[in-house]
Amino acid sequence: MKDTGQYLEGIRTELGHAQAAERRNGGPPGATPRPLIELQHVYLAFDQPVLVDLSMAVYEGETLLVLGESGQGKSTILKLILRLLAPDAGTVSIFGHEITHLSFEEVLEFRRKIGMVFQNAALFDSLTVFDNVAYPLRENTDLSEREIARVVREKLEFVDLDPERDMAKLPAELSGGMRKRVGVARAIATDPEVILYDEPTAGLDPLAVQTITDLIKKLQREKGVTSVLVTHDLRAGFRVASRVNLLREGHIVFRGTPEEMVASNDPYVRAFLNAS
């Protein structure tokens, strides 16, 4: 375990970035109270209960950081938002529409407005980088191949990849950081309003983590997207987050800004911060 004082000092440094991000997003959620995504009293169990009376909201323009130990259901929340899973009880609403009971086809309209960056990028390993980024455009738009090629180049350049050098490569030929960046390029290909990140920095070296967090901030700054970031990488999360939800045993035990979390006297929050 790290020395608590030294650690919290590091966290405060990260908070400088978080506050700056918040200012760029137009202030705290109170200033923009419209929830784009809302989960209310959600219960979900597989063999064991995963989510228990979980309620949370994501507001327009913010970057919500969902923290929690492994196996607490953080990634499950993202799958509920995408309607890849349905809750046993409770409701999930996106863009003001309840999606809990919608069919696969009915939910597509909403899902197309959401981009997802998967933990291990989840690139289609039989497709090149170009075809991976082009995939959502071919599936969900009427763009010509020429226009698709232009958009793919633009998105690859946005994530600091060289289209000429990289777009013919297969995912297996890329480093972990490059795969994540291609995953981001694919997620933003259709200019979604919301981007979900599932452990975007997991398994990356410190420089690659920096690259990915810079990219998330660039998306906030230049595209103004609403983001939900699921991670247990506290330092990376605090660099980009405007608000934090801490998950424990299936429900949220802390809600607040990163600085409120650091200042919290709740024993579990303290233990989580000190152990991270």
């Binding site: 995408l82 997802m116 289609f124 390993d125 599936e139």
Partner: protein, 274 residues
């Protein structure tokens, strides 16, 4: 303790029933998507190449040796009764109606069925299937339907190749043991003609050789896809999915072979049900 055993048996039975339901539901959805848009033509062609054309070497090797050993063993038995002139008939009918379809089915189940399970299972555990859904793609439409159609087309095609090569293998053995080639071929054709014709020109004996491979192709594609989609966790589950696919598809091929033989016997008479 007895209650515990009953509860476990009950649970297993429920799981098995659910599994059967899911298997047929998957088959139905995959088939239904063949007739609606979007249809992934490129994926179909890729799968036809992988599953069918890629299986040709194994079909050729298995076919030639099966036909040869069938002729070799049969010629010994037939010569004991002075009936070697029926060798062509026996080899031809056996290859077309039984050995060709079953061996092709088993060969493709081992090679392509396991490949389907491994590919889809790997996509499942690396979240590629979740990614497909995120982009609004139905994974059954994108992954299962092209594989199902590829198997429905390519397994019968491979079976025809297996039949021809098997007959060539039998012919080689027959001619090497002194039987004239034309006698072998005439014997074979007379048996096909004796079975009668559909539409005036299609030998009824060929019906099982077409119907069975289509059914086996469906079994191979759906079994591989079913176990691939059910993979969860790590690489171990993908390995388990491939093993289960080969075992279950092989057992289903043998079982289906029997039931189809019975059905065809009812529909076309004994000659078309061997």
């Amino acid at each position: 303790m007895a209650d515990g055993i009953v509860a476990r048996v009950d649970e297993r039975m429920r799981e098995a029933a659910l599994g059967v339901y899911e298997y047929f539901a998957l088959a139905w959805r995959a088939l239904r998507f063949s007739f609606s848009r979007p249809f992934y033509w490129r994926d179909l062609l890729v799968q036809m190449d992988r599953l069918g054309a890629g299986s040709i070497p194994i079909v050729l090797i298995t076919g030639v040796f099966s036909g040869a050993v069938l002729a070799l063993q049969s010629s010994i038995e037939l010569s004991a009764y002075g009936a070697t002139s029926f060798l062509g008939s026996l080899v031809g009918d056996s290859m077309v109606q039984e050995i060709g379809p079953v061996l092709t089915g088993l060969g493709i189940a081992g090679r392509a069925g396991s490949g389907i399970a491994a590919e889809i299972g790997s996509m499942r555990i690396t979240e590629q299937i979740d990614a497909l859904q995120t982009f609004g793609t139905d994974p059954i439409r994108k992954l299962v339907t092209p594989r199902l159609l590829a198997c429905l087309i390519m397994v019968p095609a491979a079976t025809i190749i297996m039949d021809v090569i098997g007959i060539v293998g039998g012919l080689m053995i027959a001619t090497s043991s002194g039987m004239p080639a034309d006698q072998f071929l005439r014997s074979m054709w007379s048996t096909f003609a004796y079975g009668g014709f559909l539409f005036g020109y299609f030998p009824k004996d060929f019906v099982p050789g077409i119907v069975k491979p289509i059914a086996f192709g469906g079994v191979i594609a759906i079994t591989g896809s079913y176990y691939g989609l059910a993979a969860a966790g790590g690489a171990e589950s993908v390995g388990a999915a491939t093993t289960r696919t080969v075992v279950v598809a092989s057992v289903l091929i043998f079982a289906l072979d029997y039931f189809l033989a019975q059905l065809l016997m009812v529909l076309f008479g004994p000659q078309a049900a061997m």
